[in-house]
Amino acid sequence: MDFLTGEELLARCEDSGLPISGVMKRRETDNTEQSKEIVDARLKKALEIMKNSAHGPLLHPQKSMGGLIGGEAKRLAAHAESAGCAVDTLLGKAIRYSMAVLEVNASMGTIVAAPTAGSSGVVPGVLFALQEERGLSEAELEKGLLCAGAVGCLLMLNSSVSGAEAGCQAEIGSASAMAAAAAVELMGGSPKMCLEAASLALSNLLGLVCDPIAGLVESPCQSRNAMGAANALTCAELALSGICHPIPFDEMASMMHHVGRSLPMELRETALGGCAATPTGQRLGETLKRPQCAGCK
């Protein structure tokens, strides 16, 4: 079993009566030499790493390599306990966990790229927030990861997940589309609703530029992960309510790539535009890029 477009994916779901996760798992076992058991074990391993990276910084905050971030997840957790907390528990956890993963990433800890390292917080942020707040089992979470993987696969095949190629929309936008689809499947939505949510998520972030300060995967990457998680939950809720997006997923994916290619080079991970090019961004870039004395390693 295989699919190359969103339309084909929905047809496979229709034919087999399987959800997107089921089709994705069959695609994996049919086309690689991995048994179902190996795929399950690798999914468990990925979830374990994701879980550690989403929770670790709440207890053990770490300063990033470049020094621009560190400790945000712990701050968010503390603030969630206060009367001044602006979001509910589900959203609070989603943004906290997604920020935590980026903190782990930026301090050379272990993460799972999903689909990239710079956007690795979105999918775990949404999955673990839903698990804790909606009482989902580990097995259900594995399905969420498969569904997210199916959408990511379509984007890698037909669009882009590279900030250098197509801007932040290709990284955070893709991760957000993946997480939105997973959230829909986990909440009982149909395969069609999953791709509706993914298409909405892409359209909301269309044109988002990749502009890392000092060229490092720290800021604004970390808070964009929180935003990507919030967008995923929003789009999932829209789709689950039956609110349709007029543009089908395949067209949206293709357009995201097209928009990405029309972004000027300065706005595609070169640290020459956006946040990186503000006076403060440039100053931080100068300070952080200056090589240390060659004698001190």
């Binding site: 994996e28 990033s64 301090s107 990239t116 890029k289």
Partner: protein
């Protein structure tokens, strides 16, 4: 193009912060250490392009060295690569070359030396998503990705060597995915690179070595 697996999307499992600047760098280091397959006394890394500009903030230096020490892309010891290299008595050096233009912005040369003075110089490119390719061995331009079991034969560029290698592969029933010859100019050293989807039997090395025209062999299993 290889089949795009679920774990190419949900993965790689890796030490951050960047799949191209950290995971890809570790993959290059690890592959080169497998090519070298000897005790390492000294490792010199020359970084080009984006690697040269941002290597410290991305931990590219620790990742390259960690790879050379044998660490996979998700091994937390990458963080402590400097200390571990010192404990193992391996000298290391990083040179940031911001002037030389390279084909790919994320390029590194790795020069490894063993205690007897044997050296190997390899250029790798981190091509995105944690993937890499080897593009140069000891000044000869090559191109392969390390995604397959890889047999590299350094040989004198004279007639009959390819036939000899092919017959050895055939005797062991190795299913070849790709086989390519790379050379600088006629009659000097050339490299034959063979890639297979399967494990290549180690015994094959003795057979290939039996030809006086074979100068060096490297076998890196998938």
């Amino acid at each position: 193009m290889k089949f795009l697996s679920l774990f190419d999307v949900i993965g790689p499992n890796m030490i951050g912060p960047s799949s191209s600047h950290t995971a890809g760098a570790a993959s290059i280091g690890l592959f080169v250490s497998k090519m070298f397959a000897r005790p390492i006394k000294k490792a010199v890394f020359t970084l080009y392009g984006s690697f040269a500009q941002t290597y410290q903030g991305h931990g590219t230096d620790r990742a390259l060295l960690g790879g050379v020490l044998g660490f996979e892309t998700d091994d937390p010891r990458i963080r402590d690569a400097f200390t571990i290299a010192e404990e193992r008595g391996i000298a290391y050096e990083f040179i940031a070359d911001e002037k030389t233009a390279t084909v790919h912005p994320n390029t590194a040369d790795i020069l490894l030396e063993d205690p007897d003075g044997y050296t190997l110089l390899v250029r790798g490119e981190s091509i995105g998503g944690g993937k890499m390719q080897i593009v140069r061995i000891n000044q000869i331009e090559v191109a392969f990705t390390g995604e397959y079991s890889t047999l590299i034969c350094a040989q004198r560029d004279v007639p009959g060597v390819i036939t000899h290698i092919s017959s050895c592969l055939s005797a062991y029933n190795v299913n070849i995915a790709f086989m390519r010859l790379f050379r600088e100019k006629k009659g000097t050293t050339a490299y034959t690179v063979i890639e297979s989807d399967e494990w290549i039997p180690d015994e094959i090395l003795e057979d290939i070595k039996s030809s006086p025209n074979i100068q060096d062999l490297m076998l890196i299993q998938m």
